[in-house]
């Protein structure tokens, strides 16, 4: 493979890795760049193109990546946007519980999630889908209605079931990803490296809960609406052509806060906590209420429990 003379000069500047192996790899990639990525323009974009997998970045490289992203977002949205890469704390396994007997189907969680997690407003992406079901039919997602449009909720004869990423113990989405762009972190949260995802959408086919969403078009958010406190694996603004999903608000929960959907729920239907802590709320629910998990026959072992509190 020959190097394109036009792209050769600027390409060699940003890549000064301390690792020999990384340097060789980059050098090889630079050669391929001529054919694969002729349209490369700014040095920042070029650095993004050659960025390695999140888990392969050493401390310095990660710092540089976070700085690059922070700078890019801040320029784009005209305000200071921070990008953290706070790792999972030890002794923590996050779990979630949702009280179906309290949920009224108001969808406040849906929109609180959008605001917190910087989902694209147009095209619209929601990480939480609230399903309306008939009381007589019980929990039957295949005949649920996600598009109910009511003047007042709850509607008579109906109950509501919000569905989001179930943070499976055996996530089928992680299994099928051809490039390991998605994985389960130590605290049980399934995350995506948006800079590594190739957009093949295998994970969307594999997910039994409709929890994964693709950026079909260029995601747009008004500057004023951008949440500037972001996490690399969570709510930082996503590029087009990659998959995204609920992370239990990784940027919040790794700093001791509740997910946005838990905070906003007006009826207290949403419970969250550390499954390894016997005094946590979520453990209380599991021990004192009768919980069930969605599509248990698929063996995904969700860490998202539904229950009937009253």
């Amino acid at each position: 493979m020959t190097e394109h003379p036009k792209t050769e000069a600027p390409l060699s500047s940003p890549a000064e890795s301390p690792e020999e192996a990384a340097a060789t790899r980059r050098h090889f990639l630079q050669g391929m760049a001529a054919t694969a990525f002729v349209a490369a323009c700014s040095p920042l974009e070029r650095e993004a193109f050659f960025q390695r997998h999140f888990k392969e970045l050493n401390k310095d490289e990660l710092a540089r990546v976070l700085a690059r992203l922070s700078q890019g977002y801040s320029e784009r949205f005209h305000k200071q946007v921070t990008v953290s890469a706070e790792p999972a704390a030890s002794g923590v396994l996050f779990g979630y519980a949702l009280d179906l007997s309290r949920c009224i189907g108001c969808r406040r969680c849906v929109y609180a999630c959008v605001e917190e997690n910087n989902q694209s407003r147009d095209p619209q992406i929601h990480w939480i889908t609230v399903l309306e079901m008939e009381k007589a039919g019980g929990v039957d997602v295949m005949h649920a209605n996600a598009y109910y449009d009511a003047d007042e909720v709850p509607r008579p004869g109906h109950f509501y079931m919000p569905v989001q990423c179930q943070q499976c113990e055996h996530p089928p989405c992680v299994k099928v990803c051809p490039v390991q762009a998605t994985w389960q972190d130590a605290d049980g949260i399934v995350v995506v490296d948006y800079n590594w995802c190739i957009g093949c959408r295998c994970c969307m086919s594999a997910c039994p809960y409709g929890a994964r969403h693709f950026n079909w078009g260029e995601p747009t958010i008004a500057d004023a609406e951008v949440n500037p406190e972001t996490h690399y694996l969570g709510n930082r603004p996503r590029p087009r052509g990659v998959v995204e999903k609920c992370t239990f608000c990784v940027q919040r929960v790794r700093n001791g806060r509740y997910p946005a959907c838990v905070e906003v729920c007006p009826v207290g239907a949403r419970k969250f906590g550390n499954l390894l802590d016997p005094t946590s709320e979520v453990r209380y629910v599991i021990e004192n209420k009768r919980v069930f998990i969605l599509k248990e026959e698929l063996g995904t072992s969700p860490k998202f429990f539904y229950f009937y509190g009253v």
């Binding site: 090889f28 990639l29 889908t129 990803c177 959408r201 594999a206 997910c207 409709g210 052509g241």
Partner: protein, 421 residues
């Protein structure tokens, strides 16, 4: 040096031809242009220019990909009788099957490329360079076996053609192991592709153990159907000596394959309707529609009709040997399997979605443009390769090894055939 001459001579052959040949090339370049325009639009606006959405997240592109993997695997149908049973009438046309496989895999790789959201990150999939997720990801395996099969067929076909050019038989010690290896590999490309769908318990429509066998059975119908038509065209326009027996034999093999395909389909239908569980929804969406959504119902019935009629035409020796009914049958099989793989396999898998949502998918203008363009590329590649191969098979394009070492220039190239394909 000799190979350089082969290359130059090939170049001369593909740049010479009759009016029909150049009209065909012009047509192909035109539709490739349409595809380039469509893909340009998709690249600048994103996959939102397709009609795929979160509910139906794979569709026409991946359906076409799946269909073409089957076509590529079909080369093996010709290879088995030719080399294992030493059946001479088919042996001489095996190389065409391999060229078809090369063209089909090229199209497969193009369909995957246009389907992914970040094609510039393809290097993430390359073993050692990126992070290749084996053994757990079937798509990672699929990329591996497709590329292996691609390289293998390219090497075999080039070897046979090049040996023909230098007027020698292909090397048994070199080519035969590769040819034999291509047989299980052909089975593997379609099996692994089936497993990409099959291994997803979230999608009950695909989560059936007979999906991979059904893939193979339908591939052994559609691939040879294309070969049948191709062989007749080559016989007529490229003056290639292809015996009737070869064509009839292929048609007979197709009848068996279609029987198996229909049988497996019937077994699936029995299970779905007799047990009538919640999973019946997907089959219902395909054949009768649910809650008034029935966009793909006509296609489902059309596909079934084509397959059954074609099966009968190929089963009866009289209609199999009659050139008119033979070609009708080949066309029906092709259409039947194309609809089955392109639409009836992928779309019902997603409809209703995992949360019961019904999104009615139909390909967008951009998807149709890109698809046409990719077929243009495939046909162009096939045309050019076949033109060289047929010239050699007719003995018009070759060098005398001894002589060529002494004198420059290529000995008799009898110009190019007027028609080509």
């Amino acid at each position: 040096m000799l190979f350089y001459k082969f290359f130059l001579g090939s170049l001369r052959i593909v740049t010479h031809g009759g009016k029909a040949y150049f009209a065909w090339l012009a047509f192909l370049f035109l539709i490739i242009g349409v595809g380039v325009l469509g893909y340009g639009e998709q690249l600048s606006h994103g996959l939102i220019r397709t009609h795929m959405r979160d509910q139906v997240s794979w569709a026409f592109y991946i359906g076409n990909f799946t269909f073409l993997v089957g076509v590529a695997a079909a080369a093996v149908v010709l290879v088995i009788p030719a080399y294992i049973y030493h059946w001479p009438p088919i042996k001489e046309i095996v190389v065409l099957g391999e060229l078809l496989a090369v063209s089909a895999i090229t199209m497969c790789l193009l369909f995957v490329t246009v389907d992914i959201g970040r094609p510039e990150r393809f290097w993430h999939m390359i073993p050692f360079l990126g992070r290749w997720n084996v053994p757990s990801s079937l798509l990672a395996w699929d990329v591996l076996v497709l590329n292996l099969y691609y390289i293998l067929n390219f090497v075999i076909a080039t070897h046979i053609v090049y040996r023909g050019f230098t007027r020698r038989e292909y090397s048994k010690s070199f080519a035969l192991p590769l040819i034999l290896f291509s047989v299980p590999l052909a089975v593997s490309i379609h099996t692994v592709t089936a497993f990409v769908y099959n291994g997803l318990p979230a999608r009950p429509f695909w989560n059936s153990a007979i999906l991979a066998p059904r893939f193979l059975a339908s591939a052994f119908c559609s691939g040879p159907a294309i070969m049948l038509v191709m062989l007749q065209l080559l016989r007529k326009y490229a003056r290639l000596d292809i015996k009737d027996e070869a064509i009839w034999k292929i048609a007979e093999l197709m009848a068996y394959a279609m029987f198996l395909n229909l049988f497996l389909f019937g077994a699936e239908i029995f299970r779905e309707y007799y047990s009538a569980t919640e999973h019946l929804l997907f089959t219902e969406y395909l054949f009768v529609g649910i809650r008034g959504h029935n966009a793909i119902v006509p296609f489902a019935w059309l596909s079934l009709f084509c397959s059954i009629v074609a099966f009968l035409l190929f089963l009866v020796p009289a209609t199999r040997k009659n050139p008119v009914t033979l070609n009708i049958g080949a066309f029906l099989i092709y259409a039947g399997v194309y609809i089955e793989k392109g639409i009836a396999l992928v779309i019902p898998g997603f409809t209703p979605s995992t949360l019961g949502d019904i999104y009615e998918y139909g390909p967008s203008r951009v998807e149709v443009m890109v698809t046409i363009g990719i077929y243009g590329v495939g046909f162009l590649l096939f045309t050019l390769m076949v033109k060289v191969a047929t010239a050699i098979m007719r003995g018009e394009f070759h060098v005398d090894v001894e002589a060529s070492l002494r004198q420059p220039g290529i000995s008799p190239i009898a110009g190019a055939a007027p028609g080509g394909s």
